[in-house]
Symmetry: C2
Subunit: 405 residues, 2 copies
Amino acid sequence: MKYSYVSHLECPKCHEHYSVDEVSQLCRCGAPLLVRYDLKAANSAFKKEEVKIRKNSLWRYHELLPVKNEENIVSLDEGMTPLTHLKKLGEQYSLTNLYIKDEGIIPTGSFKTRGASVGVSKAKEIGVKQLAMPTNGNAGAAWALYAAKAGIKATIVMPLDAPNITRKEVAVSGADLYLVNGLISDAGKIVGKLIAEQGIYDASTLKEPYRIEGKKTMGYEILEQFNWQIPDVILYPTGGGVGIIGIYKALLELKVMGWIEADKFPRLVAVQAEGCAPIVRAWQEGKKESVFWENSKTNAFGINVPKALGDFLVLEAINKTNGCAIAISEENISKAQKQVAELEGNFICPEGAATFAAARILREKDWIKEEETVVCLNTGAGIKYPETVETNNVTLLQPDDVIQS
Amino acid sequence: MKYSYVSHLECPKCHEHYSVDEVSQLCRCGAPLLVRYDLKAANSAFKKEEVKIRKNSLWRYHELLPVKNEENIVSLDEGMTPLTHLKKLGEQYSLTNLYIKDEGIIPTGSFKTRGASVGVSKAKEIGVKQLAMPTNGNAGAAWALYAAKAGIKATIVMPLDAPNITRKEVAVSGADLYLVNGLISDAGKIVGKLIAEQGIYDASTLKEPYRIEGKKTMGYEILEQFNWQIPDVILYPTGGGVGIIGIYKALLELKVMGWIEADKFPRLVAVQAEGCAPIVRAWQEGKKESVFWENSKTNAFGINVPKALGDFLVLEAINKTNGCAIAISEENISKAQKQVAELEGNFICPEGAATFAAARILREKDWIKEEETVVCLNTGAGIKYPETVETNNVTLLQPDDVIQS
């Protein structure tokens, strides 16, 4: 019984192989690398019924994760986030089986934690002492805190406009924090120079292969929480797209393992903001890759990614599952955020709110049927986005006042 | 098999009984009421081994919770928060078995969620249509969001100085929010007038009996997560004290059920801030009740409670378990918060940080022994307290800059 059945890294473009025992970043051809496992051996060693009584952590799937030695795991017991049936909102949307997978209920308050736990653990295993990354905020916060726990020095560069709370998270971790008067692409250039000069580990999205492995556990969990029954539709807010790539990878692995029916996949939906919708445009035009989105702008900061390195993998995931891509207006994002809180009590982030607006619109177009099982992925806690809620008109009382009603 | 084995309400002072099927607030004698169960019947119906495979939610203990009909449950799948061994911090503190119970990893980002889920569910069951409460922030946020889900109208009154994010949470829920230019005691007076005039349900701390029942599940979970082995010490940041009262109640119930050893209890420690330490003073003076703490002040806003209604129950819990009470300086609170993040990756709230400082000090005094199992309760997510982290000196780069190191 091995702790992990990881076998090697593979390039999805040129199919070159690399070792998982030393540092690898991108493939020589420039494409991101994917982690491969000996799924046959894993399947004989490990049954889905065993998972149920394991610890509430994404590491319950350790056989299908890339860390070979349990001692290298850097964990805050992240994962097994709630999958909750939203009855009242479902009535409103005419969706009888509407669910939220709430990734706000996790250490650091965002789904980026999954990538950080697996990515930092593997970095520790292959001997990384120092890493650097550009971030729109949440990923940097998560990696900084997990790197601190691992004893790895982290350098984080984020736009001045990134959510203030993520700046605080990086600072409290003791990581080196830099702000840049520009976009994540500018932060990326600064990190690129640092890495080239100093040989530091590049933890940028998809430039290290292990973050996807953390993200794919969302797929495992959704399936496990549905008792290995496949939902019809999963909607995912798509910036860099690592989550949707990861969920699709999880489905493919579970299919090989025989843990899910071979002939059915959930339709994967990439949800973007109208102000930054490169994947949506590429999907509409039937392209295999996206084009850089000029002057991108959205309050859903986490999906403000004008050109994703893994765009071709996102488009493949959508197309192979008969999914689609859809862009949502800022107005509809905020309306959905308010609706979810008022009816269901979940204070979600704007990126997550976009998926609810998308579910409503796709239901109206009858692309989703009333009885279908639909999962909206909320990628972060609303408490990380205080500026999305207006409180300017709240009444201020003096101690002797009386509430008039 | 009943869903709940709740039997009645009992006054811990005058022992009067009340029904759980109608609205009850305080006892006629002015004391808070406690919920009683038919533990013997529960014990024959429900075994601790069954709990393990139930859903990750505090409602896994539904037989020992006060809601009779499952349909009344208002849940965001809260509970089963991480209990994590902190090896590096433990080395620093000479505590081999130091654990964090991290209540930041829960909907609404604080332990107040437990009280809200159980309290709102029971309010729904007994027909409440409208509730009101004063709050230092987190409780109001949680009750507002759960009330929204339940379809109960909520009126929340909080000090102007309460954490800004909690104001946003109340607003997004659609509840009526009022700020008061004063303390929680002033908010309490305003709520008191509203309730007297309009016959609204009073959801103030301990003025409704069911919040404790939510909080006690922290005790159940700690025991379950230790495989029903009893830890030596549990440290709890104490404001209103409902958590420590709840944990002690849980221990007493589990003892009657025979789920834990009859002759051993963990020592319960009430941790307060030096600027507001009424329980500590009362404990030091051997008193059964505390005295109002004048001009209370601490950055750990949640434990700024000058006089708790349940102080006598907190003191009883400490004394009966051979525990103690300790006050922590603001400087030690912030030092501990930084230490936990830098060594372990948990961004905790100042209230939670106080318990770590307390563990360190009690270890230094040898009140805690090196090998003892120690649980520090972090009551909320650090991301709700951005102002506790300093980021004024962060370097701002221009897009063409290079990081000098």
